[in-house]
Symmetry: C2
Subunit: 165 residues, 2 copies
Amino acid sequence: MSESSGGETLLFLTDEQLRQGIEAVFFAYQSFTADPDRILATMAYGRAHHRAIHFINRAPGTTVNNLLAILCVTKQSLNRVLRSLVEDELVEARVGKVDKRERHLYLTEKGEALERKLSDAQRARMRSAYRAAGPQAVAGFRTVLEAMMDPEMRRRYLSLKESGV
Amino acid sequence: MSESSGGETLLFLTDEQLRQGIEAVFFAYQSFTADPDRILATMAYGRAHHRAIHFINRAPGTTVNNLLAILCVTKQSLNRVLRSLVEDELVEARVGKVDKRERHLYLTEKGEALERKLSDAQRARMRSAYRAAGPQAVAGFRTVLEAMMDPEMRRRYLSLKESGV
DNA sequence: AGTTTAAGTCAGTCTTGTTGACATTCCAAG
DNA sequence: CTTGGAATGTCAACAAGACTGACTTAAACT
């Protein structure tokens, strides 16, 4: 509260301040995932399905390999999730035209409906947090998050960001 | 970049902006946990052990029930983790003096050493992100994170924050 | 033709979450 | 004082979702 918009002091880099930042991330992430988790629990899906659906929606036609890089999981792990999504007709995997080895992933209408349901819940929380915090805080929020990312992750984040305008 | 320190516009509340916020949290959290995960992988421990160690260090003498509320898992789940930590002599569980049902949890020296190792790694990342982003961004970062938390979580976060000065 | 790459599969393990049953301790009402 | 209920913690079994390792198939590259 006291160090809020202060000058250029470096006092906020004490171990205690850093610890508080770590805990803030922990607690916020817990709430952040709680809304979609509640929805997913009512079906036979989990957080892994949500992640796949989110990024397929974000980059329709993306390949399996691409998704693996973003999610940072093994293909075996992703495959289990993808298989059930394809079986349940939430995701369509089309064979690549130029390279037939590749599978391009798309959400079906059913998949889009679930995506909307999940992201509506998550966006509602972000929206109210953003509104409560104000534009300046939001800018700072995103600056710090970007600075926290590993370079490789930041690269992927930024390229998604640009593709979405 | 363009919406950085801008005025009081509400343009940043478009779905696209909110989506970017969601993705930023996702990618940042991935990097955020990567450092301790790497250390833990070399021993027989996981993220759950880290969380327990972190909060026991933060509030020495805390009870199991207390920890459950913070971590939002079942007591059975926490108990497995706690048992292995006690067996390995990283944590000491003392029977409560006034209420013998309670176990008060403390880190041993060995436990403190691991806590330091883990949090050093995590703090290093936070420190460099904070430094790169600057004090104003950090203030905004924390404001938004607090606003994202469920009221109950925020209450717990704030009480830890105060206890640590 | 031989190698590499993309994707998928099968089997087995580990962590970490879950529920259900149970033991111990405390406390308060009869 | 005792007894029954609530709180605290433990044990056992199971499921999700991550992992590794070995392997197949098909297509592309050289």
